[in-house]
Amino acid sequence: MTRDDAGEVEERTFAVDLLTRVEGEGAFTLKVAGGEVVDARLKIFEAPRFFEAFLRERSMHEVIDVVARICGICPIAYQMSAARALERALGVEPTAPLLALRRLIYCGEWIESHALHVFMLHAPDFLGYPSAVEMAADHRALVERGLRMKKTGNALIELLGGRAIHPVSPRIGGFSKAPSRRRLRELRDDLARSVDEARETVRWAATLDAPSFDVDYTFVSLSGERGYPLESGETILVSGRAPVALDDWGDASPEMQVPHSTALHARLADGTAFLCGPMARLHHHAERLHPAAAEVMAEVGLERSVTNPYRSIVVRAVELVHAFAEALDLVEAYEEPEAPYVDAAPRAAVGCGATEAPRGLLWHRYELDAEGLVRDARIVPPTSQNQARIEEDLVALAPTLLALPHEEATHRCEQLIRAYDPCISCATHFLDLRIEREGV
């Protein structure tokens, strides 16, 4: 469609060929003609890496090391979802102190990932800078605070896991080695200071100007017995619908291949696009937040059901408070476990497991043979689940863009995509698609 003689049908395309300040490689196009959206695509062209294929015939003990490499930003999420799925297949349950350590290392990952996103990837959008480095020239204290918090999260992971990226200690049944109480307690001061800094972050994020835009979301989040959803859960909550048992999630949200993406798209079986991640967790579990997080949330007047994606930065900040405060509690209460892991004998079995990655629900399913070799693996990462929702948000956003200058409209789309904290390496399980680049 092009402009007709009378100039009535005007076509506009908003596009970015390479998204920046996101994890991995993607692009988007939003085409509007005569006021109607004719095309909205989040294009993921990250080269696929075929994890599910080469997990086959690996030993069950190697799975946790291998799946970490799907994503450098949330390796622990992959390790923990795999550990849950394998333990459920093998019929073993780590002891309570080991499960507490899992929550603790997972808090470290939420901190590291959320602090990275809030301060380095997302904040520059609100304050008008190309990156946190330029932002630091005018807002040095803010950027330094973000880096300090991120460092505390990484220090926690390093102590428990050996290193911040692709930690080596998580294994089936627990950890290869558990930290000493003394070493862990050395982190207390940093964690306590960080709880305060995270509270400050919520107050600051709540003052940021968000474009007005609201969506009637179907929120999806894990639910388990232990607190705010994190390292385990047996049920998946879907707003406005019946909960789904963990083992049924693969059928409840089938993944589909679309021509413009190397990531698979997941939707509910009836085609509904849904949202997972911080906003969905808060919607379903606000009453499970740590009191420190609940208090500051009330103080800034944040509602539990945030429907404006541009305000996800505030929700992430609330989760930062939660993660620091819970980590501090776990450190205080820590008793060294008798054994760092519970042994698991191989057997032919199938197991599903899910955890809440910083970006949302991460579901795994493994089929093992009697020797403990993987016969089949399936991984559904948060970003492939959010992808369809991002595209529908772009469609909904379109009418508000037409009156804006082109550059500003394009930036608003990019900012929306960034608000999801998409993790493109995760979403790409996976292959390279030829991208048709529409001439703009």
Binding site: T20, G24, D65, C71, S131, K151, N154, I165
Partner: protein, 268 residues
């Protein structure tokens, strides 16, 4: 020798670029994980291209130093890496993907079209090469940093050395040496844990043995690695051929030393 330092760009600071190919982003994230140093680095170098960190991209003139993460797995990446080489004075490849093909090189032993079908129902949408290969298979590389992921201390040492024009102090030795310095008891002796430490390049600080498990070789072989001797030893200690092969074929399995030895245990 200051004369070896890269000539500064127009901003008066050396120009740094960061690119990725097929990878997990973990190695470039290592740079953002330098929380104490990041703002100082940004004061001293001009980050001219680094999509994960900044929306600015200044490709107007050649880069002084370019860090590349990831392996070559598509025809497009093969072109891209040539283009990167042509636009930089020094090319540094970072991590197991970039220096050895990474975990995705496991496809190199398999039928790639079968791999595609396992993940994608409609493989015709996808363009992927049959192999995942290190960048040095395609273009000249000036320096390689090992690891999956790279080690932060080694990265800082390398950047400092390149910026001041001296030789990076990165030792080519085995993980065993680091284990000894850390005062670890050998996991092979104490726990009967198979360990790739004797043939693996140092740099992690003997992480796995310090956490009571055997090294899984994510830094790849060191120069003088005798993979054959270790493979033989593991077999004699009772490990089945399939297991020895699997252990060698993980994050750096496509490195020549690990590849050759793993193929020796291929039972067909």
């Amino acid at each position: 020798m200051a004369s070896d330092a890269p000539a500064p760009g127009a901003t008066g600071r050396p120009r740094l670029a960061v690119y990725k190919l097929a990878s997990c982003d973990g190695c470039q994230l290592t740079l953002l994980d330098c929380e104490d140093e990041l703002l100082h680095i940004a004061d001293r170098v001009h980050v001219a291209h680094f999509t994960e960190m900044t929306s600015l991209s200044d490709t107007s003139e050649p880069f002084d130093v370019t860090l590349v993460e990831g392996s070559v797995t598509t025809a497009e990446q093969r072109e891209h890496v040539r283009h990167i080489r042509a636009s930089t004075k020094l090319l540094v490849t970072i991590g197991a993907c970039a220096t050895a093909g990474g975990v995705q090189a496991l496809r190199n032993w398999r039928d790639a079209s079968e791999m595609l079908r396992v993940v994608y129902a409609r493989p015709e949408y996808i363009d992927a090469l049959a192999t995942s290969t290190p960048i040095s298979d395609h273009v000249k590389v000036d320096f390689e940093l090992r690891g999956c992921p790279i080690d932060k201390r080694q990265l800082l040492e390398l950047l400092t050395a390149l910026l001041t024009g001296r030789k990076p102090a990165i030792r080519d030795e085995s993980v065993c040496m680091e284990c000894k310095r850390a005062g670890n008891v050998c996991v092979m002796v104490a726990r009967d844990e198979p360990c790739l430490g004797p043939i693996t390049h140092a740099g992690c600080g003997a992480l796995c043995p310090s956490y009571d498990r055997g090294c899984y070789g994510c830094f790849g072989p060191h120069e003088a690695a005798n993979a054959r001797a270790l493979g033989t030893w593991l077999r004699e200690a009772g490990a089945p051929a399939a297991e020895v092969k699997r252990r060698l074929r993980l994050f750096t399995g496509w490195s020549p030393a690990f590849r050759e030895e793993s193929e020796r245990h291929d039972e067909g």
